[in-house]
Symmetry: none
Subunit: 413 residues, 2 copies
């Protein structure tokens, strides 16, 4: 069954509110195996709403609308529904009693304007709202379903969970959807696509999407099947192929993060980590400690933004700075070695580079970054050339450093 979601309100259309309601509803439904056909937003205009509702009602079997159900003048959803379905509004004593009761409990007299909330289109059933006065509205006709929910996120979520999802699940037969996300880093989208296109076979009903970000490329496998088990089998078959051809780039699945993966590896090995950061200025440490429980493997670090700090705290020699510069493989390596000694850890990571926008030269352009790694035996550095903005360069540098440590621990070459 194909579903379409419409969010109502000027604040969404103008971008002043990010449309998290639509994302929430879509996610709930997708996870339950429904297919979202379309999503849209319209402003507080009866005419535009009616037009959009009509279009949706024509093309999708299930239409879910949120917003515009409040008691005030700019809440127009019911008026648009009445126009579309050509029905009268009917008064529901039961709803009014519930609203009155809620105000009584709060010791406030119910404002008269709330009487509107007890009016529903003829023949509609309603979904109770535990947190507010706007009930959900449901019209079922000719094998199609039209649902309108309040736009206040807490109210919408309660009605979705308690009423809409059980109702829609009860109607459901046929196709379900399974999703697997495989997270990679250290390889560009077009390169991993080449590898996958050459070696991975997609069965009918399976889609593969590449989702690139500064942190890496996620591979999302979506499979449909007659049953949940069948869909999941299909998705997992592709996942196994991806695991095989992209092994070294995969740091996790679904909601895994690279910093979380590195943390688990350090916990597993009972190892300690320290950092030394120049151009990232603390972003590597901040990323590592965004993981709850990082105190069991992250000891601390030096933000060596000024060269004096690199020499005084990390023991980088004046000679390295003079002959190679602060942005060099030698300096990155010396920073890592120095941090490991200072903090007495098993590993240390160091980052030095030119984050820009100024400070680049022909020889050392903006985006040039060296990542150093030290362990008990040795120290080494890797060179990277990242593009784009200061922020992008810093984020890429942090993930390159985390990935270097992951590959060091797992001995991936």
């Amino acid at each position: 069954m194909e579903i379409e979601i419409i969010t109502v309100g000027d604040e969404i259309l103008t971008g002043h509110t990010v449309d998290t309601n639509a994302a929430f509803i879509a996610q709930q439904l997708t996870e339950a195996g429904f297919v979202i056909r379309h999503k849209s937003s319209v402003g507080d205009s009866v005419e535009h709403m009616e037009e959009e509702f009509r279009l949706a009602w024509k093309r999708s079997q299930i239409v879910i609308v949120t917003g515009g159900l409040g008691p005030t003048d700019d809440d127009l959803t019911k008026r648009a529904i009445v126009k579309l379905f050509k029905r009268n509004l009917v008064y529901h004593e039961e709803i009014l009693e519930q609203i009155k009761e809620r105000y009584r409990l709060r010791g406030i007299e119910m404002p008269a304007i709330n009487q509107n909330q007890a009016l529903l289109p003829q023949g509609a059933r309603f979904f109770p709202n535990k947190h507010g006065s706007a009930v959900g509205i449901c019209i079922a006709e000719e094998g199609r379903i039209f649902i309108a929910l309040p736009g206040v996120p807490m109210e919408m979520k309660q009605i979705m969970a308690d009423e809409v999802m059980p109702y829609l699940r009860s109607l459901k037969t046929g196709h379900t959807l399974a999703i697997r996300k495989i997270r990679t880093t250290g390889i560009v989208e077009s390169r991993i696509a080449e590898i996958i296109t050459a070696d991975v076979k997609l069965d009918f009903g399976v889609k593969l999407a590449y989702l690139p970000s500064l942190r890496g490329v996620d591979l999302r496998v979506m499979a449909t099947g007659g049953t949940e088990a069948e869909a999941l089998d299909k998705a997992k078959a592709v996942e196994r192929q991806l695991d095989a051809v992209c092994t070294k780039y995969i740091y996790g699945k679904d909601d895994d993060t690279l910093e979380g993966t590195v943390g688990k590896l350090l916990i597993g090995e009972q190892k300690w980590l320290a950092v030394a950061e120049s151009c990232t200025g603390g972003m590597l440490g901040s990323t590592l400690t965004s993981v709850p429980g990082a105190s069991t493997y992250f000891r601390g670090g030096i933000l060596a933004y000024a060269n004096e700090v690199k020499t005084a705290q990390l023991g980088v020699s004046e000679k390295i700075l003079a002959s190679h510069g602060a942005v060099s493989d030698k300096c990155a390596q010396a920073m890592a070695v120095g941090a490991r000694k200072l903090f007495d850890t098993d590993y240390a990571l160091a980052i030095t580079g030119i984050a820009g926008p100024d400070g680049g030269t022909d020889e050392k352009p903006v985006g040039l970054v060296f990542v150093g790694l030290a362990n008990h035996k040795t120290g080494y550095a890797r060179k990277f050339q990242f593009g784009a903005s200061r922020e992008a360069i810093r984020i890429r540098a942090v993930y390159a450093a985390l990935e270097l440590l992951r590959r060091e621990i797992l001995q991936i070459t």
Copy 2:
């Protein structure tokens, strides 16, 4: 001119990605005085895209699409455009050269798949992409404009700022909207609203919005007028009132950031800053160094995640840790004093706290944070109780520290 925005991608339709692109574009356009007529999302299907594009092209004068312009098989936007406009794809040598150059700078050979990126619908102009290989596409026909942008937020934002907004503004006549943003921190929304409601008078045609975030509360003044000058006058009249009643909380206007403001103050006074961070693990340093040119006032810092680091590097006494604990005003103060000495700076900021989700007690609950400040004369600490998630607590702590320094430098009490 009415505009409509279409975002493309299964990940948006399924709710796995919240559609922040559409919100960003809508906000930019609204602030420039355009009216958003409609927003929608479609999945990775040429058929659904073409249908949606056709509908949009019919009902709105300007259509902006994001997503689906990558080089891989699931990027189908260009195919849908070609179907809608019945045009062939034409090869642009210039685009390919730019992509090759980007790969060359990074020292990577360009994967062959990227050649697709140089194909554009006949007669289309293109908007250069500084951060990636997918250029923006623009088709102008019969007084209507169709624009397609990549879906990677960084790329989309750059092309919007550098190309699309100047282009659309050039088409527009009769500006009527003026916006001023006044940025505050260190005060909760309801309290600043009380102050403003009591003392600030809004003329007809002026709207004031409170935009709270983890970093503070922004006040957005939107004024409409017959001319740009009239609208701006109205907005500025309200801005002057806000400046007067909220003085001590205002750190900047429009795109100013607190870290940028603090940086400017340090440059103005020719002072140096160091940091010592426990629960924020580098986020304060990372935030400070997100500002280009921070090397003229930020010397470095200590990430003192483990208590050993607090004593060994920062000289926090064992006695303070034993009798007051690492999360205490005494420890925060000692960390700041120690960092200032170690790095020989004019100021030092220190943060220690319980970011959670675990580690809280009745006496020291999750969210308890102490911020320390040291200067040449003295050291002191302030106590904060922040709510919500680990991430929120850390961000609030960083901004509380920056604000403490701003008020110290400006002697605001």
